[in-house]
Symmetry: C2
Subunit: 348 residues, 2 copies
């Protein structure tokens, strides 16, 4: 199962260049700021965009919006002919992105594009979207179905989504509330969620030479089952904590992993220690690491490694938070907020 490759695989060697994305983001941020109106409360780069219809009301409703895709997890679904889970992945990904701002979802719209519309496939994709929406009490309000001959090959489709949620302005999670010494509580992921698929596909399909239906004995599942595990929504676990005011800030661990996403939940000048011995990594990640000889830094910037969301809580709330999470996970203490910038992976 873990035949070594000739050279280690990194996310960049699989074709994804996170640093190029970061450089482009500088220009994009400048352009986006040139459009900002009085209602905009957030800057580009937050998990969700914040907009208020009442700029002068400190307790008014804030709309929190996020756009996302499913990435090349789509390719796995298309190879396996399993089309009814990627919609759920997408809705849950979007819901998590606004949840870490403090918002609950209101409505969702999708964009579905293919070369030639296969109505049966499209309806199965929407089944997944609808299941995800119902589970998050979020209305599937509309969408666009694009038929683009010559743009997508037969059997391929693209899927993107967009969520709008709401939050009272004085209940928004704000990283400015975080102080050194606050506790980081991890919530378990259900698999790769929707990140790292370019590298994971390369390892499973090229390095290991497996197909989507191949069994993976050490995982007790087929490749498709392992790779298509649905991205979890953290709304049922985290919603009650938000209502009780127990969460200061939160990070959704997506592309860039813990090192790139956790700092988005921390104020400038602060960082974090992550206790690497605080959890047992799910076996899927160990398999990817060994088979692809993936350097540890790439593993951490590519995959969630079993941690799908991190909550920042005050020491005095910790007991209540962990107790409340038990039926949902449970969560565990994965680290501490530190007085200097940067994310360090340490042993306790």
């Amino acid at each position: 199962m873990s035949a070594p490759t000739d050279s280690p695989l990194t996310y960049a060697s699989a074709g994804v260049d996170i640093d190029a994305q970061d450089r482009a983001l500088v220009g994009v941020k400048r352009l986006a700021r040139s459009t900002f109106t009085a209602g905009v409360l957030s800057d580009i780069g937050a998990f969700g965009g914040l907009f208020t219809l009442e700029p002068d009301n400190p307790a008014g409703q804030v709309l929190v919006a996020s756009a996302d895709g499913v990435g090349t997890k789509l390719k796995v679904a298309q190879l396996a002919g399993i089309h009814d889970t990627v919609g759920e992945d997408l809705v849950n990904h979007c819901v998590n992105d606004i949840l870490v701002c403090g918002a609950r979802p209101l409505f969702f719209l999708d964009y579905f594009a293919s070369g030639t519309l296969e109505p049966g496939v499209m309806v199965r994709v929407v089944e997944g979207l609808a299941r995800g929406c119902r589970a998050n009490a979020c209305a599937l309000l509309g969408g666009e179905t694009a038929e683009m001959p010559g743009f997508y090959a037969r059997g391929e489709y693209e899927l993107a989504g967009f969520v709008v949620g709401g939050c009272r302005r004085d209940r928004l999670l704000r990283r400015e509330a975080v102080v050194a010494g606050d506790v980081l509580v991890a919530l378990p992921s259900t698999g790769l969620h929707t990140n790292g698929y370019s590298l994971a596909r390369r390892i499973f399909f090229e390095v290991l030479g497996l197909g989507v239906d191949s069994p993976v004995p050490e995982l007790g599942r087929t490749v498709a089952e392992a790779l298509l595990a649905v991205h979890r929504s953290y709304l049922p676990a985290v919603g009650p904590l938000l209502e009780r005011g127990f969460v200061k800030a939160a990070a959704h661990v997506t592309g860039g992993g813990i090192p790139d996403n956790l700092p988005r939940a921390l104020p400038a000048g602060l960082g974090a220690e992550i206790f690497v011995d605080s959890w047992d990594e799910p076996p899927l990640f160990g398999l990817l690491r060994r088979a692809g000889r993936v350097p540890e830094d790439d593993m951490r910037r590519t995959f969630n490694l079993g941690v799908g969301m991190i909550l920042v809580v005050a020491e005095e709330s910790l007991g209540d938070v962990l107790e409340s999470l038990v039926p949902h996970g449970p969560g565990w203490v994965v680290g501490r907020v530190a007085g200097e910038p940067g994310v360090r992976f340490v042993r306790r």
Copy 2:
């Protein structure tokens, strides 16, 4: 310029099956309805989705949302290496879709996907998005940049967008206000807008054998210039008419043309007569019709034919409406609401 083909070209023969889309839509509508919460005011199939935070307030704010893509106009932009206009197309398309509900845009999010991120290309795309957003006083609130190796070929990218606008509930345009005898006022388009590109590309590039840089003497422009003309935003022209209460309903003429889009602005049981001799079709459409030997019904269901938006106004408002439109177009009387269903193209 107009060498005939062996067989007439239709949108279906170019690979787009609008009827298959319609069949899939039935299943999709049922699934979407299963997610509807108390805030949903619209049904799927309207130009924009309607959602209210105050279901019991008849004068409360309604959020109006729409998702769109650029279709295979993207392919023309990519062939021509002109990347800074498709974003404007997309924003204006989205803005028009909620404008016909009565809403003004609040914020916009984009989804940009490519195989390998080319930061220079992406920044030019966002320049177009930002220009479109500024012109519509709409904040570019966020977006997703997806790098999907193996999914998109080098030089290709996908672009989709989502807009959210606002409208007071008692100011929403409602097709129930329309009665037989109401006047249809057309607003001129600036070109193909974002529809019919699969057929138009086939005619220009395959039938006529032209390249993006080929001059088209009868249009006085190159192919790229003719095909990349920016989709017009009707907000500056129509916004003041909405404020003065002069518009009963409106249709954005996109995929499906006047026959498929105008009925979306009419109540059940009513239809329309379109006066085919009321305007001079821009020469681009005549060229496409002749070169592709496109049947008239396909022309009408594929292209806007020079009519980008249709407003439904009461006879007594007509003078004010036409006068107000002069600096923006101007508009003209393109037809009448009829007492029986269906859109008929007639000569006056």
